[in-house]
């Protein structure tokens, strides 16, 4: 069963007067409850594809179906609501809201979804405990290390138990030891929450941990091959 269907997806950017193709007719399926990595050299289209999967950008042609919903049919408000409900994001630079504590950062997606305050607190506490930061709940992002921030970001991405978590180079800003710990945590969380994780990464550790790898080059799919069977 696939969580994501990508059909003939193309995206071009204009750099001055030059038209730069970032994705050219990409079609693929990404399995549900799997750990999938998008790999490829810089400029291959990984981030562009990730943005289109997450509904952050719109394709020039083709379409994306996430959890049975064609994203191109949604207007901006509905797409925002869809992201809030069904997609979690983990960013390379963590992107925590600096004025909110770790707990409040995890609560934020729940707030957007209209979850009641008591339930928000309960779920945030549960998630922070799951990522090993129960004792850091009241800390602001500035008081946390890089690894801890990324743990908070993972907890935030999972707050609404989304169908899909997208992570753009989640270990790129971490040392190898911390990166390995984060990969292990994400793998663990993916299994625990039965969610589809899709990453873009160059990280060999991450590639090794993936269920599926999708290789992109020059905006085209090179090797949509299973690395190993989904857990």
């Amino acid at each position: 069963m696939s969580a994501i269907e990508v059909i003939d997806l193309s995206r071009h950017y204009r750099l001055g007067s030059v038209d730069v193709p970032a994705l050219r007719g990409v079609s693929l399926s990404i399995a549900a409850n799997a750990f999938t990595v998008l790999s490829g050299p810089s400029g291959s289209g990984k981030s562009t594809l990730l943005n289109l999967l997450g509904g952050l950008d719109r394709p020039d042609s083709g379409h994306v179906v996430v959890a049975g919903q064609r994203l191109d049919t949604l207007d901006d408000n509905h797409l925002s609501d869809f992201r809030a409900r069904h997609i979690g994001f983990v960013f390379q630079h963590f992107n925590l809201l600096p004025v909110l504590t770790a707990r409040e950062n995890v609560e934020y997606p729940l707030l957007l979804a209209g979850v009641a305050a008591v339930e928000r607190r309960r779920r945030a506490a549960e998630l922070l405990d799951a990522v090993g930061l129960a004792d850091r709940a009241a800390n602001l992002p500035g008081q946390l290390s890089g690894g801890q921030r990324q743990r908070v970001a993972i907890a935030r991405a999972l707050a609404l138990r989304p169908a899909l978590v997208l992570a753009d180079e989640p270990t790129a800003n971490l040392d190898s030891h911390t990166g390995a710990a984060i990969i292990a945590l994400m793998r663990d969380m993916q299994r625990q929450y039965q969610t589809c994780f899709v990453f873009s990464s160059h990280d060999a550790q991450l590639l090794a941990a993936a269920d599926h790898a999708v290789l992109l080059r020059d905006g085209q799919l090179q090797a949509p091959a299973a690395v190993k069977e989904a857990a």
């Binding site: 952050l56 609501d81 994001f89 960013f91 909110l100």
Partner: protein, 458 residues
């Protein structure tokens, strides 16, 4: 964590910029409130001054206001005593009234024939008790108002009070102890000599004039015939305006009526009505119109602003200055808050992208930045108002005085901020609206940012 809380934390996050913006807003609010308080004090002070002098309303002959100065006696109100009684007995009007008193204006020539000098004057006959009651009005609790009675109080029926300009021209400075009264250069007479009968007037009873300051007032009777009254000048009073100071003669009403109407039925130029409260003017005016309708005389009601055009001129001038100051400060606030918000949008571009990625709608981003503008506006209004109240208290207790135009005495320089809820509210609401408007455009720009571009922002 609602939008307002998030907005508040974002403001606190960049303390220095927030404080700088707040400071600009506070200075603006203080400037508007202090000048507004000063304007308010001027406006109420002027109103109090005019109401104490000429009442809120006056009943006059229809043409008196425009044509009466040429021949006041021709526009008199007959049977004025009955009319006053009718007004004071009216169940609707009476509760609104504080003072009802008549005045009679007259034009004439005042002469100090012992010195061979005379000049044209404008006289006003007043009921002393009524005038003293008029001067007790202080609906706005103004501080530092002169409390003394009119100078004619307790004087003989033929007593008069003249302007210092009249005293100077009539060469009465010495006996009336008028300061700043130099002796004029001798003027070569070009006209014919004074008629013998007039020249003989002061010497008619020389024994009676010893130790007195006496002038003769020649006025035209209502019939057109001349009449003369000997007046005992008890005081020379500064009138504040030179043009008035040079012609003013105040005398007892009965004396003025005798001069103008002789043995005929006495009339008055106007019935002065002072109300308990200025806010009752419309109601009183409407009732007066009903009471005067169908009367045998063509009477109209004039308000103090019409009778004293300088009231509108001065308040209008202050309103224009206040308006200019408010617009200037409004523009500064607009640009200051707008600039602060624009910088915040640039600095928080990645954060905006993150919020959008997490599912916050464009409207949510707009709401966040507008909330920051709103909080800035509310904080600036509160702090500015508090500071203005403190500053106003200091000014009001500093003992500063000033001489308003048309006044002869210095009065305390006051600013009315405390208790002026309308002004405080209008300033606060104005600032908040401006602040929100200033934040609106950057907020709109933030909401329309491309999410991917925002997340990539360095």
């Amino acid at each position: 964590m609602n939008t307002l809380q998030l907005a508040a934390r974002n403001l606190v996050r960049n303390r220095r910029r927030t404080l700088t913006t707040l400071l600009a807003m506070i200075v603006g609010v203080v400037a508007v409130l202090i000048f507004g308080g000063y304007d308010r004090n001027i406006r109420l002070g002027l109103e109090t001054d005019f109401v104490r002098g000429s009442g809120h309303l006056q009943i006059q002959h229809r043409d008196y206001f425009l044509f009466g100065s040429g021949n006041p006696a021709a526009y008199g109100i007959r049977d004025y005593a009955q009319l006053m009684q009718k007004l004071q007995a009216d169940p609707q009007l009476a509760p609104l009234l504080q003072v009802v008193t008549p005045v009679l204006d007259l034009g004439g020539i005042a002469g100090n024939f012992a010195s061979g000098v005379s000049r044209t004057v404008y006289g006003r006959g007043v009921d002393v008790a009524g005038q003293n009651r008029l001067k007790q009005w202080n609906d706005y609790r103004m501080v530092g108002l002169p409390q003394r009675s009119v100078a004619l109080t307790g004087t003989a029926p033929n007593a008069a009070v003249v302007g210092t300009g009249v005293a100077r021209v009539l060469q009465l400075c010495g006996p009336l102890q008028v300061k700043d009264c130099p002796q004029p250069l001798p003027v070569r007479e070009q006209g014919s000599t004074m008629p013998a009968d007039l020249a003989a007037l002061p010497v008619a009873s020389p024994a009676a004039n010893v130790g007195r300051v006496q002038i003769e007032l020649l006025a035209a009777r209502a019939s057109g015939a001349p009449n003369v009254a000997s007046l005992q000048v008890v005081k020379a009073e500064q009138q504040g305006v030179k043009a008035l100071d040079d012609i003013s003669v105040q005398l007892h009403l009965t004396q003025a009526q005798q001069l103008v109407y002789g043995q005929g039925a006495p009339q008055v130029s106007a019935i002065v009505l002072q109300l308990r409260h200025s806010r009752d003017m419309s109601a009183a005016r409407a009732r007066l119109a009903q009471l005067l309708q169908g009367g045998s005389q063509p009477l109209v009601v004039q308000d103090f602003a019409t009778l004293n055009p300088q009231y509108g001129q001065i308040t209008g001038m202050f309103a224009a200055i206040l308006g200019f100051v408010a617009v200037l400060i409004g523009a500064i606030v607009l640009f200051t808050v707008g600039n602060t918000m624009s910088m915040a949008v640039v600095e928080r571009t990645v954060e905006i992208g993150t919020l959008r990625a997490l599912g916050l709608r464009q409207a949510g981003i707009r709401r966040l930045f507008v909330s920051e503008g709103l909080l800035l506006g509310v904080s600036g209004a509160l702090l500015g108002s508090l500071l203005a109240l403190g500053l106003a208290w200091l000014i009001n207790h500093s003992g500063l005085t000033w001489l308003p135009p048309g006044n002869s005495e210095r009065i305390p320089l006051l600013v009315r901020v405390a208790g002026e809820y309308g002004m405080l509210l209008a300033t606060a609401v104005g600032l908040i609206v401006l602040s929100v408007l200033s934040a609106w455009w950057p907020a709109r720009r933030a909401a329309r940012l491309d999410i991917v571009e925002a997340l990539r922002h360095a």
